[in-house]
Symmetry: C3
Subunit: 241 residues, 3 copies
């Protein structure tokens, strides 16, 4: 049985994983879902990427979790890469789940299409506090395309504005790319949060891992809401020895 | 419950949708399948693209259908884009189902590989009436690859020669690209009617839509014959709010 | 009912197909799985590509098999292309199953990424007998990613070192590309034995066939071990009229 630590993406907090955790624990695993610094409702959103990373490192160290399978979703991929640099000795395997994998020296924003960059920039400028909130129409059509309208609405209500700075920070990832921790890429094939093709998750991001285990499932960027049981099963496959 | 209008592709007529309509109606929806001008057995094949579009506009207006989900398959995608320009106020959502989405000023022929262009040109020249009939071998291997031989034969018997002119007509689509009607792209992953990759349906065609809902299913270009029940279910997912 | 001849890939021998053969025969088909010259435990590994081809030709002629569906997996694709040149009159259809399809004049090594070329070259040099053995870590992560650890181990124990020369030999395939034998490409969508994208099996290799029947299933490069029943069903679909 494994110990999973699930790191959410933009606009989410740890509560997004509740149904997945329930399933993982029902099958005998341990699972934890910390909230990244600057994320979640009511949080102080004035954070940078280093603070995001540190909050996850602190969570794992405070709980003294070892031999963990560390999963990052979407933006969370940029966080677990840096967490692995800091406390790689506690990590059995990394799972990148429709996640950003940055080249050394890049930011998340460097890895999204120009029209999305422009949208995020505008949202951050208009927010007054350098956050951006995803418009519902984009959430419904491009993020949770596999849900019905009610689930699209109820899951949207769980989101909160995303701090802009962590996506702008350029990351030094030289150490990450020298780590020998085994890695998996879990890919939902109906995900259009990034447009498929030139800017897509796979194989663009996944191929940066070098040797990795590839696991696919159907579903959107938000299967933790639309298919948490199916997702839990694929997380187990991606995380096993 | 929704009102679906299903617009067929080349070589087909409205009867191709019968099993899909049966399923949609069995689940409480309304569904209609007009035959495009110049299509179907015994029709006058001397039509251009504008006449194809007008015939579908007339059908919808004559029946006074409103709040419809308008779906176009293959060549039918070029038709529903122009229908949406004409009577967008009657349309709740557009579904492009393994369909051509032309850039402004392009023709369908501009969007198929050179060797297929050459084949269609030859077929039209040899026909005597500027139509082209798809050879059975191509139908069986590249269009309905998921069917057994008997279904490949019986479905082929429902086809009729396709007028060449509508595929040559360059379409003004400036208005289409300014419409705010929600759009979905429904993609069958085993479709090789267009070769996958550089010339494929997805993401080449789909990405032209800007924001759209992406829905996938397994199956060939001709799942209305090989899996009509599965197709109907995905049409409902692609068409819902 | 069909007669299948299944030609294995690198590191394998005919015994890899046993569970697939059992299933094909249980559904009323005949199935054979010769071992390519220079392959299998204890074999003399000093062979070139022509000897590999000749061994399969001899097997089919000796057994006087006719009207066969000839399938090649991975490296086996390069073999069945040359077998088809030699005894095309005995072949009803070719199935390329996550298989190499070389352009005229190319070798297998020409069709793998530079870092894999370098690895194979190093393994062959260090072997002492110009063979290469796939490291277990690569087998487990990139070849049989859909198996649990026990199956990864037990299937690895069935492998044996692969002769290097057949992968270096440049093949004259002019005759192959003039054959009118029907062809199918069967593609497992989770296969990362070749990295997906620029160097991937599909559509890079498949598109070289011209007109072909495309059949997909989920699973890794090694579904003959991880899902032999599902593979047998797809082989039947790929091989039928």
């Amino acid at each position: 049985m494994s110990t999973f630590v699930l790191v959410h993406g933009s606009w989410h907090d740890g509560s997004a994983w509740q149904a997945v955790i329930d399933r993982l624990e029902a099958t005998g695993h341990h699972a934890f879902a910390p909230t990244i610094a600057g994320h979640g409702k009511g949080a102080n959103k004035n954070v940078n990427h280093a603070q995001c990373t540190q909050s996850i490192v602190d969570y794992i160290v405070d709980k003294d979790l070892t031999d963990i399978v560390l999963l990052g979703h979407s933006f969370g991929g940029t966080v677990i890469a840096k967490v692995a640099e800091a406390i790689g000795n506690r990590i059995k395997r990394l799972i990148f789940f429709n996640a950003f994998i940055l080249n050394d020296g890049e930011s998340l924003i460097d890895n999204i299409p120009p029209h999305t960059q422009a949208l995020f920039d505008q949202l951050a400028r208009e927010s007054g506090d350098r956050t951006m909130m995803l418009p519902f129409e984009i959430w419904r059509e491009a993020f949770i395309n596999d849900a019905d309208f009610e689930l699209a609405r109820s899951s949207y209500a769980q989101l909160s504005p995303e701090p802009y700075q962590p996506g702008l920070d350029k990351l030094d990832l030289k150490q990450f790319y020298s780590l020998s921790i085994p890695k998996s890429y879990l890919y939902c094939t109906d995900d259009t949060a990034l447009p498929q093709g030139e800017w897509g998750w796979h194989p663009k991001m996944s191929s940066r891992l070098g040797l990795f285990r590839f696991v696919q499932m159907s579903g959107s960027h938000e299967v933790m809401f639309s298919n948490p049981v199916g997702l839990a099963e694929k997380i187990i496959v991606a995380g096993r020895d």
